[in-house]
């Protein structure tokens, strides 16, 4: 039996190797392609002008390609999503891992998984049809499409990753830690927040970074609620993110405009890379 399987073994080994190799090829290809296609426009516009210019008018008679509004919007939007989403996600994770009775935890977990599975365009659609008009009437604005709406949508979208990763980290805390705390007379809630959470902090931090990664890379949902005007960001104005800047103009772009969009993608790519490096360091520290 064993002898017969050998060729299969070798074959499958090759298949797995090939699959792993394909992933690396794609990452390398995308990196190289983005750098090569992103650099010419930056060189033509000037790095300083490109990164710190505050005016984006790609099709004007005298075009101007400053992406500072997009960078700031992406940073603010992500920060806002973290501020709104992390407390809810973190507390939900504590609830699921420690407090909730098993049946209820199972129900909540199913709901969270479902939330993770909803396509981003659906978030955008509901945001556009429900959230935007609601924000308009609630805050008495002329138009609801704003940075605030994008933050809310992103906050909901990053919930599942925060909850599930934090929950796993909390569950991995050795039971002995908690028992020791309880034996010393701490209440259950005290134990969870003074013992379990600090013990799981690198995992929780990783969940937040993962959420940031998701938020900064999201385009479809926020293109429908953010208004997409290249304003400098403020909470209730129409704004454009790095992702939506690429997505909204790519269809009809040409010449330098098109190249500049690649450059924006390159900047976004560098952001995501930085976030991934932070995430990897966090995860490594957890192991060590």
């Amino acid at each position: 039996m064993k002898q017969k399987l050998r060729p299969m073994e070798i074959l499958m080994n090759g298949v797995f190797f090939l699959c792993g190799f394909i992933a690396i090829v794609f990452v390398l290809f995308i990196s190289v392609y983005l750098v090569l296609s992103g650099l010419p426009a930056i060189r033509e516009i000037g790095l300083r002008e490109f990164l710190f210019g505050t005016r984006w008018a790609s099709t004007a008679a005298e075009p101007s390609f400053g992406i500072l509004p997009f960078i700031l919007t992406s940073v603010y939007g992500t920060a806002g999503a973290v501020v709104l989403g992390v407390p809810v996600g973190f507390l939900t994770a504590v609830f699921l891992a420690k407090v909730a009775p098993p049946r209820m935890a199972a129900a909540v977990r199913t709901a969270v998984d479902l939330l993770a599975g909803i396509p981003s365009v659906v978030y955008g659609l509901i945001g556009m049809m429900v959230l935007v008009p609601a924000v308009r009437t609630l805050f008495d604005l002329p138009d609801g499409a704003s940075l605030f709406c994008a933050m809310v949508v992103l906050a909901v979208m990053i919930l599942p990753s925060i909850i599930s990763v934090s929950e796993t980290a909390l569950k991995a805390v050795p039971r002995e830690y908690e028992e020791a705390s309880l034996a010393l007379g701490a209440t259950e809630i005290e134990t969870y927040f003074r013992v379990s959470v600090p013990a799981a902090k690198s995992g929780i931090a990783a969940s937040i970074v993962l959420g940031i990664g998701r938020a900064i890379g999201e385009a479809m949902a926020i293109i429908m609620v953010a208004g997409n005007v290249a304003n400098m960001p403020s909470l209730f104005s129409s704004v454009r993110f790095l992702t939506t800047a690429v997505a909204s103009e790519m269809a009809y772009a040409s010449g330098l405009q098109r190249q500049a969009l690649f450059s924006i993608a390159l900047v976004l790519f560098l952001f995501i890379m930085a976030i991934n490096i932070v995430l990897n360091t966090l995860l490594k520290r957890k192991k060590g």
Binding site: A57, A61, M128, P142, V229, S238, Y252, Q257
Partner: protein, 294 residues
């Protein structure tokens, strides 16, 4: 045991295949002309077209006309499979220059020729009507072109200034590079001056946003307007295909083929022009959101 493994392998193989199958379908809308493979000669009935031409027709110019040309290119492939129509989007000005220099067969201009652009003639292939839409709750029913321009640039910031309810004007439009945006801004003479509250990537989104905001005003291709929004009359003229065709509706422009007067067109290019201006192509032009002349 062995059976299970074979099954698993078969299944994963099927997965791999379906992965690639998924890739081949898409990009139906891509305007890039596919390198015309010698399209199944067997299936072309000889009786249908008396002469099967072959060759390349280069068109160059208005980005607003991209969609119309894309639809026409697709349709023409069925009439003359041997002829490939290429499109380069470079702007109406470059389209006229291209026709003058002979660097392209057909120049494309989404405006009429100016007096100083000589040596070429224009053939209008379609008209582009742009409807001005507001929320159905908005009592404003008629605006002049000047008023629309002022609303777009933010000079009129409150609806009460044009006889509407008290409320800040929310101007909603398309993204930079869109043909509809270019059309609206050039007709109302508001290029680079519009104060957008919302820049959306499709006509459908513009309509949905205007439908959900009582203070919104936006523009959309005439063919896309539905009952969720109110198309206002411009200078008392309702936006319909008829008023666009007879020229009474103001926010419209011509989609023109620009052709060199001195050097005759190639047979393939001439056939394309004749076909595009015939009734045969009118459904395709309408499908692309423009108003056909015939």
């Amino acid at each position: 045991m062995m059976k299970k493994k074979t099954l698993a392998m078969l299944l994963s193989a099927a997965l791999c295949v379906s992965l690639f199958a998924g890739c081949s379908g898409g990009s139906a809308n891509s305007p890039a002309p596919e390198s015309s493979a010698p399209a199944a000669e067997g299936s072309t009935p000889v009786s249908e077209a008396p002469t099967q031409l072959s060759g390349i027709v280069n068109t160059n110019g208005s980005t607003s006309m991209e969609k119309v040309i894309g639809y026409l290119t697709e349709g023409f492939k069925e009439v003359q499979p041997g002829v490939t129509v290429h499109y380069t989007g470079s702007g109406s000005g470059a389209g006229v220059t291209g026709a003058q220099d002979g660097t392209c067969d057909i120049g494309l201009a989404s405006r009429d020729l100016k007096d100083d652009e000589t040596g070429v003639k224009q053939i209008t292939v379609a008209k582009d009507g742009i409807a001005i839409i507001v929320n159905p709750e908005n009592p404003v029913a008629d605006l002049s072109v000047e008023q629309i321009a002022q609303l777009a640039t933010g000079e009129i910031a409150n609806w009460s200034e044009v006889g509407g309810n008290d409320g800040a004007v929310v101007f909603i439009g398309r993204e930079a590079g869109s043909g509809t945006r270019d059309g609206f801004e050039s007709i109302t003479d508001t290029k680079d001056a519009c104060k957008y509250q919302n820049e959306l990537t499709s006509t459908g989104e513009v309509i949905a946003n205007v439908a959900s905001n009582p203070n919104a005003i936006g523009y959309a291709s005439l063919s896309a307007v539905d009952e969720t929004v109110k198309a206002i009359t411009v200078g008392g003229v309702e936006a319909t295909e008829e008023t666009v065709l007879d020229g009474s509706y103001a926010i419209q422009r011509n989609f023109n083929f620009i052709i060199n007067e001195s050097s005759p067109l190639s047979e393939a290019a001439q056939t394309f022009v004749d076909w595009a201006t015939s009734a045969e192509a009118s459904d395709l032009i309408a499908g692309a959101g423009a108003v056909p002349l015939v």
